[in-house]
Amino acid sequence: MTIQSDVYTIILETILMAAAIIALSKKFDKADPLAKPTGILTPILWAVETVHRTCRENVGDKMADRLTPYVLVLWAYIFISNIISLFGLSSPTANLSVTLLLAFLTWLMIQAVELKYQGIGGYLHGFLEPIPVMLPMNIFGKFSTMVSMSLRLFGNILCGGIMMQLIYSFCQWISNTLVGLITGGVSGTVFNFVAPLIAPLLHAYFDLFAGFIQTLVFVTLTIVLLGNDIPEEVKKA
């Protein structure tokens, strides 16, 4: 059995990210809760409050306290992974193993919540609804959440990378042709001078914007799907 060379990069990047997040949380813990937040604490405070409010609206007060840390880690990990290709490293989320694991964790939480609030009998009976013939469909439906969530993130990030590669090779071709026209037919591989003019805007779209939107979608889906399985009276309590 061979191990993909990507795996070592992913592990290294994950360790670096975890170290950065732990260091930040140490700083956050030490901060005076009554003083005015300064520097990097302000955006973090805003992020924590926003995520906590969204969780409270969707899964109720009690569950929100336990869900918020998980959602914040998802935010930090997926967003940094998506935009890390801007710094010349490969994105961990462009590997299906990583996104499948993230989606599997969310899926496991959804199943646990369903089991808790419906009981084993209700959970198993859910497979036979609305009519028993739907059993195979319901079994596929249970797993489709996990598959589609992981494939969405993976496909978007991978295809952003592929698009950027295509654009770079297209710019290389334009540079070669332009130099060839000026020098009169003699064209080897020249410096890719068209790419710095075109690429930055597309990087902003494919890496920053798509990375942000996909993170938002993954996190919102996690919260909303969990919230769907919690009965209203539990949310109110």
Binding site: T54, E57, N58, S144, S148, L151, R152, G155, N156, L158, C159, L216, V217, T220, L221, I223, V224
Partner: protein, 77 residues
């Protein structure tokens, strides 16, 4: 002459056409969400999460098409 590579490229191109109608559907969904927010601005957060859920579900089709074309290009090449 090897015709397989050309056929694979055509198949990959056809598979991505799954995204054609998905774009239309997602645009309609977002437009109606804008309408709803304009009519009832207090419900913005609820509308937003419902919209993202709907968009994500319909986007799955496009993602599957994308996956098929990626598989065609990199696995069967």
């Amino acid at each position: 002459m090897d015709i397989t590579r050309g056929l694979i490229a055509i198949g990959a191109g056809l598979a991505v056409c799954a995204g054609m109608m998905t774009g239309l559907g997602e645009g309609t969904c977002a437009a109606h969400a804008c309408d709803a927010i304009g009519r009832n601005p207090e419900a913005e957060s609820k509308i937003r999460s419902t919209m993202i859920l709907g968009i994500a579900l319909s986007e799955t089709v496009a993602i599957y098409g994308l996956l098929v074309s990626i598989l065609l290009m990199f696995v069967f090449n």
